[in-house]
Subunit: 196 residues, 2 copies
């Protein structure tokens, strides 16, 4: 198979983003993560922080509450509008050439392409909590809470936009436990598949 | 990490069993699949076919119905009894030395060991159906039905005995899409991780 694009989905605290960044660096290809947010903010006129909150983690209201709030006069919710713009930008990024895209349902958005390698990075509870504690200078309890909340939001967001279950192995070409295998091994395996 | 045991969980039609068998052959280590059934049959006195049906696919009744049927005078259901014997045999197999064990919740049964590499093999719908059609000489419709039913039973069985969701990436160290990567690549990746 010929691969051009790598999408990385990841559990919070698994190091998936760092793995994706390092893979892009070593392969000498583009890396898209926060830059997508900036593009969405530019195109929609919304604040970057607002976009960040909305674009990967919405809708985090219940489906019922969601039906009644945040819609513009055309009946399109702000969440849906932002997702549509984000989707267009991800498709444009992929068109530009080989790249790594982290998060944002990119695996599903690019599912019509057959040159896309979809990776999921997950990890053991203890290792993820330790990583979050170190990165954000928080207590174990706070780290565990952050992890639960962010993964829950990612899961709801993915379900809402793709109708698939986030973290289910058969959405991805390869899923790796970064705590068990180590980040370096994960990087090597992804590069190996990309080049095969 | 030092690995001694490889457990292979797999979607029906993904070729996971053949991949496991080939990995064992190339690594020169034991391979356990049907032999576990034979041992369970021998130890319990039940017929092999009955054990096969029960040991990987039970309970396939609803939890409610399950509460009222198939219990012996000690209150232990036949399903639970068979699973207990199967569990003991899997633990004994792992004790004997390096091996590959396919299916039967082995990843969960051996979760106390840190020398166990847990793999999940899945595949694309079309490829799995084609494989089942060729192997069992059935129509596309029949193959799709077999696939749905067997995976559903595996999923219920796994949930019942492990309280985890079958096929969810974070139960395994590595999950691979055999249709996308090809069987040979899957074999190579598993061997590479085992030896690393």
């Amino acid at each position: 198979m010929k691969n051009n694009i790598i999408t990385i989905s990841r559990e919070y605290g698994s190091g998936g983003r760092c793995i994706g960044e390092e893979v892009a660096k070593r392969l000498g290809i583009a890396y898209y993560d926060k830059v997508i947010l900036e593009e969405v903010a530019k195109e929609t006129g919304f604040d970057k922080e607002f976009v960040e909150k909305k674009a990967e983690y919405s809708p985090f209201k219940s489906a019922f509450a969601y039906a009644f709030v945040g819609r513009d006069t055309n009946g399109v919710s702000v969440d849906d509008y932002l997702f549509t713009v984000q989707r267009k930008i991800i498709l444009e990024c992929a068109e530009k050439g080989p790249c790594v895209i982290v998060g944002r349902c990119a695996d599903d958005i690019l599912s019509d392409r057959d040159d896309c390698l979809n990776i999921f990075i997950h990890g053991n509870l203890d290792a993820k909590i330790k990583r979050i504690m170190a990165r954000h200078d928080v207590t174990e309890k706070e780290a565990a809470k952050m992890m639960r909340e962010i993964d829950k939001k990612r899961s709801i967001n993915y379900k809402y936009h793709t109708e698939k279950v986030w973290g289910q192995a058969n959405n991805y070409d390869m899923s790796l436990n970064s705590s068990r295998l180590g980040e370096e091994k994960c990087i090597e395996l992804i590069m190996q598949l990309y080049n095969s």
